[in-house]
């Protein structure tokens, strides 16, 4: 698959909804008086990218190129690291590594788990 497909597929509704939310760490952290510059999931995201590259699922250069291109176009207005997360998921959806339906369903399940009391 060419890296063109990584970028040109979409838009993905699921990601569009997140893109338009003003819920990035940059907005939320000062609201809660948090000074850590990065959300707690950032390292996990970095490790996920490392794993995908290390296992040959996503060639490093394809991924970097797609990240650049998406970061300058579709997700330009989203700050890092949310932009990086959206770009990664965009590429994974484009390549069919995960499906949008599965992902939406799993997000509902994860949220339910995190909010369980």
């Amino acid at each position: 698959m060419s890296d063109k497909d990584d970028v040109e597929r979409g838009p993905f509704q699921l990601l569009e909804a997140l893109r338009n939310q003003d819920k990035t760490w940059k907005t939320l952290a000062p609201r809660y008086g948090v000074t850590n510059p990065n959300p707690p999931w950032k390292t996990s995201l970095t490790a996920m990218c490392d794993c995908l590259v290390a296992n040959g699922v996503l060639p490093l250069l394809d991924w970097r190129r797609a990240e650049d291109e998406l970061g300058e176009t579709v997700y330009r207005d989203v700050p890092a690291p949310e932009r990086q997360l959206l770009a990664l998921v965009h590429v994974m959806l484009s390549r069919g590594l995960v499906s949008e339906t599965d992902l939406a369903q799993r997000m509902r399940a994860v949220r339910a788990r995190l909010e369980a009391v």
Binding site: W41, L45, D50, D68, D102, V110
Partner: protein, 238 residues
Amino acid sequence: MSHTHSPGDGGGDHPAAPMVEEITDFEVLEIAVRELAIEHGLFTAEDHRRFTEWAESIGPAAGSRLVAKAWTDPAFKKRLLEDAVKACKEIGIDWAEPTGFGTPSDYMNLRVLEDTPTLHHVIVCTLCSCYPRPLLGMSPEWYRTTNYRRRLVRWPRQVLAEFGLILPPEVEIRVEDSNQKCRFMVLPMRPEGTENWTEEQLAAIVTRDCMIGVALPRPGRTADVHPVQKARRPVQRS
């Protein structure tokens, strides 16, 4: 003070650190996509745990120690310039971590670039964002921007000036584009006014930016100071 402990207060005298008290869709998305990737066999939970642990263990302190040791130990400096990966082991940095053969973006080829009174190095990766992570930790956000990557090779003096670093024309500026498998780190010159300093004192002024080459170490500057967001709603002790 009440005798019941609220979550996170640890029972001590310190107030709980503030937290973002809502679950965002970004956080949920990161977990969801990772779980699916693991279920689809793209990587294992153990792979992920190992890379996370490693990512959290690295930082620019290792590079700072390396430079301080090179400044105080000429024999070490010689070994460092000859075989940097090997010399790193002397300060406990193994480029084979965490997989046994490095990470996908930190191959086991490292070269240390020594600055002189007439030569100043600065590193970039025009292709993506290759960076000597075992020594410097995760690259700063600006290092990954296309602005830095595109402009540094062409207008290095302009870009350095934007970092506040202005060098006279007689100093050769050498841009190192790490576009293949070698990784690079700058060995800056030891500044004046640091005579008789200990390695520890020296390491404190060798900040990340000095090892990228966008700043010079100087006594008194011990962090790459960037504006810090002030808390609008600081936590009050009850």
